[in-house]
Symmetry: C3
Subunit: 496 residues, 3 copies
């Protein structure tokens, strides 16, 4: 590993070397992310000020409700910052650092016997990998603002960091509910499978704590025939609801029943993570036959890929139909080629940083859904993408026309300063601002939530200041928009 | 509807609200669109000054020649600004405002009984939707520079706007020919079908008015088997020309004859709006058989999609061949998935803001045409795109090699400050500046023509100033280029 | 031809003309390419200073080793600047200037009888075509810094340029080895076919000259069944190595043997220029049968396209396997639709500026290779693209996960200020900086090498300064990175 002050062990030094690191203060500049142009910076500052009193709305994410139900302290720095965050460990992995050495659990549930402090040191030793990345920017924010650290993370400071954070985590102020309050979160949505009991959400409600943690309905495990354990999941769905899920009609009833249950636990939205944005509107007979065929084959692990794709596509239209009935806002997150690294999937399973975006069509893919429901006033479908080439070509024109469509914020790899700016510049001219839904942090890294919202708000300020400074937008309109983008749009779009 | 001064009815207000609107002057900043960076801005100003005396060349657009033939006053603000402009009403529609409430005519020709002032108020009440959009920027320009209005459009000023514009439209100074002169238009091209009689163009010429309004030859209705009424159009083509258009050879003769007629009415270009950029070079026998099959099926409304695509593709090569003979410059505008909203097409027909771009290949698609004619010196083919991913990947390399190819300006959704900047930055390094053709406004919104040229010229200044300020281009070269881009390139490319 | 001071012969002048050219000094601004923003410019300057002592590493390119073996003087300005550089003559060609008039040799080896000075004047007369293009920026650099010229190239200065350059080329200071030393090149890699004897590389080594010119192994001529002369190339491969290359197993042995020979001549890398990034991992039987079928058909010029594609795909995996054994770093340069202009290919052959990028998939295409070797620690695969839409969607996520993958610099059309900036902004957030390999000049234009490295280093400064000035990166980290990007990364990635 190369460290900042001992840089000769891995890479030959050049003829001329860079300046030595005199000191490494960790500074979070108050104007961070803003344009260096003084005119734009001044506008951005004024706009950002307006966001400071606004609470955080987190309408889509992947935190674990058990944290807020149990309110137990987080364990140690490595389990907080490395283990749950595939954004972090995939970058280390890309440079040849094994998941074993970081203590990442294997697919079979076994956990490598690694001292969490040793894993932390690996992160510290290699922290240069995160230079200029959103993960690095978020981590620095958390280190500084959540833990009060004022030096940069490096091999030199690894232990000091570990001790500081570890001690803090053991204090009451760093328990989940305290942080939730300190972060000024108004609503936090988690995401659960239809066969989740939502027991933790119930426990939160029963606890008397006033923090609003809601769920979101993510039916992939029971509507995607290629989801791990699909047949078993369907069986559980039947047991939980009392419907015979071998029958297509009763399967739909079971889904309706779970949607109702989720709504009773606060859900205002569903979420759909399909490999493509394909939709299909099959007749009842055709759907029934397809479902029967899939179920029969799923029990023997051999669903035909085209059947799986067609069924997922059809179920998006079915879900839209149910949304029109029950009011859940639909989110579609397509285009990730999941578990791309076959060896890693075999040893470590899902969510190992090996999900790779792929080219995604919306124009033809969404057509069956739009043919049925595109002009409804009481249905809302929020679309996300990992294929930025579609922003100006497909998504902004679609959202700028169809009443049901809105654009989700830049997602995953694109939830970054450059990604946000590209998305804003590529969509606002065609879709306007009012077909947007504000920000989603979409994270399982709870401590990073304020950092992510800070970045998103600042990047909205950057974009709006650019428009104001080039006389494309009046500053009073920008002042209204920054509040809409930071708060109002999410509140309205997600019915919070 | 939410209005600026009564903002609580639809969206919950946040904890912190934006600053109140103290006043809403409508200002058109003299440096609008220019970079806020002082060095770039100073250069852009100097360059823009050079464009101010230049007349407007509008070599491609969709204004109605009857306006200039009859020179009747425009009717009222809503019929001028809302009804013909699908850029405007699609944005309102995307937010749930019905076309009925705006008075948009239905497909069957019936017109909703809506007071034009009520439609205007709907636009005014929702004018925030156009913040930062090119439509908003163009409208503001027209309000300010064409009608002398100095307040922003809002619910408060809706009636004042309506009255001011309505009164102006009734005056002689706002008749089409007066505006044409006032706008300093040197040439304006409209676009007509081969079966158009061009009677309005004849009337213009016969009237003694000196304004130069020319036509352009758009054969889609008689070369695209999927165009509405294709079989009938072919029949009319036969009647107009005296050729038996059931015969492929005579059909080509008929097209030649109409091209000659269009050229005699001033046409210097043809235009082709196919769903893809596919071209094909069929032998005479194959073409004849395909045409016969299509014609037979078209009479019963059942042309095979692949036959239609192949025939369109083949006809692009035929049109190129005719262009080589008669000198019409070819324009190809591919890649729009037209009438994407099926319900809306059924009720309201074409051009309802429901045309969505789709991914467009040029490299393989244009090959048959380029194999035949790519190296000709006396043929000019101007290519447009709605798929920005092709600018640097396909279009700039093609135009930077083939003598016949030139790049059209950013089209439709991309005719915007960001779209123009993306196109310029993505193409100039590979295609250079001299494979460009300057600006097309491509509009049916006649009053917006000066606004659109103003934006395009300013964005060229932005781009050139960026190159000059970063020492990639000398300012004297930029000064030459801004005049070329604003005037000379269009004049040469369209043979005006 | 239009010239700067006699501009009326081809294009009608506008009503208002641009300012006259008072003088045309050729200035290379010391801050060229840097942002005009003072804050960013100051940072960029400080970073650039750190690169000035660094030698040039040129690990991938297409210079001719005979230059360094023979050390003969270059012939004349046209043969140095026009003939070998398809970036230059394709731009002239796009504007209707024939290759004949430039003296470009034909496919049959005949050379048009053109005075090199006349060809040079054609370039000079049309030099405006290169305004703002990387070719123009590189040429100006060479004119100024290599030949000391202080006026811009134009019709007026054409002869003065020709005489100055021609005289210099005849002097010892401008012989290849002198320039190599003057350019401060530490290593220069050329690229050769497996059936090249590498005699010039041997001659260089035997000459006692200390310049390090190494080769790279480019097996396309013997692994791509659609390469010109494939069957003959295979036969030569057999003769050179003594293996019976009609047998698949021995063919692989022959390739291994040539790889060893290349390594003995200094090669540290292989390079693969396939039309797509497809990889395939065939079993030995299947591969053997495919090879036999291809070889049988290749002798009669009729390999099935799908066979050719599958074989190339398979051979990438085979080459990866050999790389794992022998340590050659693999480079994949896919996505060029070569020889797109059929007529020009017939008359002039390959490398005539008619290679057009096309859409390129990596996510599915690379999967077979990644399934086999993606997690290896001792294999390095550097991927390039001509399809910029894949930077953020596919390449950065892949390189930010797989240990074997690294991203090559912007390639060919994208080796330009805008192209470099787009690539850096689109990849650094997801892949970080440490999955990059620094710069490749990839050129056959030897004299332009310092110009290209100067541009690349400056654009890294632009990018890093942008991050520093917006407080996304500390300046001390940027100072380390600029040295890595300019020198260390290439040295490590290419094992130099």
């Amino acid at each position: 590993m190369r460290t900042n002050d001992n840089r000769d062990d891995e890479v030959d030094r050049p003829v001329a070397t860079a300046r030595p690191f005199m000191s490494q203060p960790l500074s979070m500049h108050p104007d961070r992310f803003f344009s260096p142009d003084p005119a734009q910076r001044a506008i951005a500052r004024r706009l950002f000020e307006l966001t400071e009193p606004l609470p955080i709305l987190s309408p889509h994410g992947h935190t674990d409700p058990v944290w807020f139900a149990g309110n137990e302290p987080f364990s140690n720095p490595s389990e907080v910052f490395i283990h749950p965050d595939h954004y972090v460990f995939r970058m280390l992995y890309s440079q040849g650092i094994s998941l074993e050495s970081l203590g990442i659990p294997r697919r079979d549930g076994t956990v490598p016997d690694v001292d969490p402090r040793a894993a932390w040191r690996l992160l510290a030793d290699n922290y240069r990998l995160f230079r200029g990345t959103p993960s690095g920017l978020w981590l620095d924010y958390v280190f500084h603002f959540v833990f009060g650290i004022e030096k940069r993370l490096s091999a030199d400071t690894a232990d000091e960091y570990y001790d500081t954070i570890d001690a803090a985590l053991k204090s009451d102020e760093y328990r989940p509910r305290s942080l939730f309050d300190r972060f000024n979160i108004e609503v936090l949505a988690t995401t659960e499978s239809p066969i989740d009991t939502l027991e933790h959400h119930r426990a939160i409600r029963d606890s008397g704590w006033t923090g609003r943690v809601i769920t979101a309905f993510r039916p992939d495990p029971v509507v995607d025939p290629e989801f791990e354990g699909f047949a078993d999941n369907i069986a559980v769905l039947g047991e939980m609801t009392g419907f015979d899920c071998g029958d297509y009609g009763q399967y739909l009833q079971a889904l309706r029943s779970r949607r109702d249950f989720f709504r009773s636990a606060g859900a205002t939205s569903s979420d759909h993570g399909h490999p493509t944005a394909a939709t299909a509107d099959l007749g009842p007979k055709e759907a029934e036959a397809l479902f029967a065929r899939i179920l029969a084959r799923a029990r023997h692990g051999a669903v035909e890929p085209q059947d799986a794709e067609l069924f997922r596509a059809h179920m998006l239209v079915v879900m839209a139909e149910m949304s029109l009935e029950d009011g859940l806002v639909m989110q579609i997150h397509p285009g990730s080629s999941r578990n791309h690294n076959r060896q890693l999937f075999d040893t470590h399973g899902r969510d190992m940083g090996a999900d790779i975006p792929s080219r995604t069509d919306y124009v033809q893919a969404l057509r069956p859904l739009l043919d049925r429901f595109g002009n409804e006033r009481d249905l809302s479908v929020i679309v996300f993408t990992l294929d930025e080439s579609g922003y100006s070509r497909e998504l902004a024109p679609l959202a700028g026309h169809y009443p049901i469509l809105k654009l989700g914020p830049p997602w995953w790899f694109h939830d970054s300063p450059e990604g946000m700016l590209r998305m804003r510049r590529a969509t606002h001219e065609t879709a306007g601002f009012y077909n947007l839904v504000g920000f989603n942090d979409d994270t399982r890294a709870f401590l990073s939530i304020p950092a992510r919202h800070d970045m998103a708000r600042r990047m909205d300020c950057v974009h709006l200041a650019e428009l104001v400074a080039s006389h494309r937008l009046d500053e009073d309109a920008a002042a209204e928009l920054i509040v809409d983008l930071s708060y109002n749009f999410a509140k309205a779009a997600y019915k919070l």
